[in-house]
Symmetry: C2
Subunit: 500 residues, 2 copies
Amino acid sequence: MSAIIVGAGIAGLKAASFLHENGINDCKIFEARDRIGGRLYTVTGFDGKRKYDLGASWHHDTLINEMFNEECIAEKDKRPFVFDDDFWIFVDGKKGRVDRDPQMRLEIIDNEISKFADLIFHQTLNSLDCSFHELIMKYLFLKRDFLSDDQIRYGSQIPRYLELWHGLDWKELSAKDTYFGHQGRNAMALYFDTIVNKLATTFPEEWLHLNTEIKSITRARDKVVVKTAENEQFSADYCVVTIPQSVLELSIKGDVEDTKGRIDFDPPLNKKIQSGFETVHFGSLGKVIFEFQEVCWSNESSKIMTLAETDELFVQKVRNAKTLPDLLEQLKDAKSDSFGSCWSHPLYFVNMAKVNGIASLMMLMQAPLTNYIESIQDNKKKVYDFFEPVLRTIMKTLNAKPVVEKLNCNDSEIPVTDAPVLRNIITSNWTREPYSRGAYTACEPGDDPIAMILAMSDGQDSRIRFAGEHTIMDGAGCAYGAWESGKREACYILENYKRK
Amino acid sequence: MSAIIVGAGIAGLKAASFLHENGINDCKIFEARDRIGGRLYTVTGFDGKRKYDLGASWHHDTLINEMFNEECIAEKDKRPFVFDDDFWIFVDGKKGRVDRDPQMRLEIIDNEISKFADLIFHQTLNSLDCSFHELIMKYLFLKRDFLSDDQIRYGSQIPRYLELWHGLDWKELSAKDTYFGHQGRNAMALYFDTIVNKLATTFPEEWLHLNTEIKSITRARDKVVVKTAENEQFSADYCVVTIPQSVLELSIKGDVEDTKGRIDFDPPLNKKIQSGFETVHFGSLGKVIFEFQEVCWSNESSKIMTLAETDELFVQKVRNAKTLPDLLEQLKDAKSDSFGSCWSHPLYFVNMAKVNGIASLMMLMQAPLTNYIESIQDNKKKVYDFFEPVLRTIMKTLNAKPVVEKLNCNDSEIPVTDAPVLRNIITSNWTREPYSRGAYTACEPGDDPIAMILAMSDGQDSRIRFAGEHTIMDGAGCAYGAWESGKREACYILENYKRK
């Protein structure tokens, strides 16, 4: 029995590993990139030592995460992760810190908003979806008499940390899909390359073919025939396609200019898959790493969010609106939907000093900001100038001196100072890479990811299968979900083969 | 059409109110006590002004609480409640404050334990129940490699604030029933007497008969015949029995010494009800109010919990145990199950200074401690001596000077000082009152409250009905649940009557 795996991300690697473990000897993995790991991508910092995951960073749901459990076999002090589910620091540019304020109690408002969403979407049948923004406005409108001005103004900004889960601005994010259960604490991987590389040693090296883009997948009686961009042809009994949903979507689009990564299916992707694409989208979580010379700031918490700037008039609009549509109409005029400034969005900074002592801040951003920042990433000074105001605020919040910008300088040019000296900026590139075209699955208002998940886990047919973060329910959008889906398809192949 | 309501608690009052509102003119409410309100009970402090609710204090689930919504008709600044769902201060007697500790992060461990319970009991079918204590030990045992010594030692104590919801010590509390969803913030009523008294004005005064204990309820063809302790006899088309579950239970017990409050049903309570009692119990949340001369402490938070004392050896026992039963066995020897000292239990202090400026602390305690403290309540000095160590710790935590005890003193005997001067102690008496016999419904390991709730809401038959906190699913154990159940039975009667 033979198998072909398209894509050497965590799903493809796990599928290959599991097949080999179960006695399969004839398998090929084709990877378009020059590296394995896909959206698990560990890079090195300016000093050649520090490491960062530019893709997934966390083990989520650690009470039920099997991939994480395998990591835990290591000795206690050598484990390649750290629990970092810390207390949030929330900073408003003008008001300063607003977390754990004994009068505003914004965390409690945040918690009530999540309950409000739960009552609307999970305890009521057939509720119409709306944007996350609209949901929060609905809460404010209905509960305004129970909320202080500050709770309306700042409380409405706190839940937006969820934008940094989904990689979408609240106006583009499905309210129904925004909240989800966490099964235990989160642990930050240190780093995912260890897992990726270890997995790659569990099957024969010759299975792996890097720099090999697949152009077509054809079902031919009892075989699957796969053709590369170089027109090489391979056939196997089974094929597992693990390319991102965003790339797979090219297959059903007739008129794409940039066809890099596109695979032509013959016969075309089935109806269920095609309609699955109608109710699911792709988010663009992006990262910017700010690398400093030394840690010279507080390690009170690893989690800091800067709130988007709010308008004083906002509270009056909420208080005076006659209806919810009236309120939404008024807010429409207030702000454009473009990427604005660094204060137009909530931004999440991981204080790596608290996580593992590294003198860096890892910033998470959402679409559409990600698209813009990734487009200017080559100009580090320009990226710095964009974020300089929030960086200044964060350093002040962490009791540090103002940032000294020394991008692209030699060690000898670095002044001796107890201020944070910025040495380098690393920006992710997911939105511009043809083989990712964004970060991971996300839902816009009206979406329902279930259709796609079912279509994907059912496969194109009995021989052309799918794996990846977009193909699974538990762990959807997560590294461990992708890993599980790779295992699932390997199991499927082994069982399906046995039955014949 | 005529109706008799037994009990003038919030359920009985609401039932009467709703019947009157819908045109019923012939109704009697019999109340054994000399007051209305039942387990909503507002008392006055030593100065004749301060007020406290010795029974229920909170409006829970305010996103869905209809009784609360009716309160909100009042003008914004005159509303008789305050949202007080504050941030917890956790204090260990020896270690001091342990809340929001950036290293221990106990709140995050607490949250993970709730997820752990959820995975065991709600996401897995047919899990065997155990005590809340055993559940937490199971978590510690399974996850000990992921927990620091301090997280094991203090993290295991934090979730015990739930004992102060249920009124039961963790060793007597059903793990399956411990966690429940909150539908929105909690608001403290100021005070429930307002609601009770207002409700009593919505039906004719002559309906109400205080000091009238009911001894028997007999079903006679199309009537219900009710006999009082004074042997007066009344009959009506319907009867709604709203006495507490603890009192109702006397009806199925043959050999009770103290029969006060007991009602003999003829025919006896039906089989469903009788078996309902097998899987539900009664908790004993109790309150002690410490009244001070003036506020001279911090109002950082309204919620303070003192943790039960932990043993240094505890961590070693958790780390070294070979199996969970092994661990539980070792812990059995460590501590007796008696009420111990004030450091043997978690205790919840509501800082009334933060809630509404009153110079008092309202302490909540659980069975079996409640039973002991209520039994010594007449000796205020003895109650004070028992709690003096935790009071001292709390005042220190709130940056106040040590307590000056001036119980039973005249105003003229009170020294001028900036230390907190204790003027009075008020203790609840629920466990010793024959018409309550505890606080409210609670579940011991192995219980399932659903059987009783279904039996109660089905009624004894079509004419003998039940209402109260023990008869309803949404709002079980809450004032608003009792209120809803009164309305439900009034509706039932009106509809059942119409159909005939």
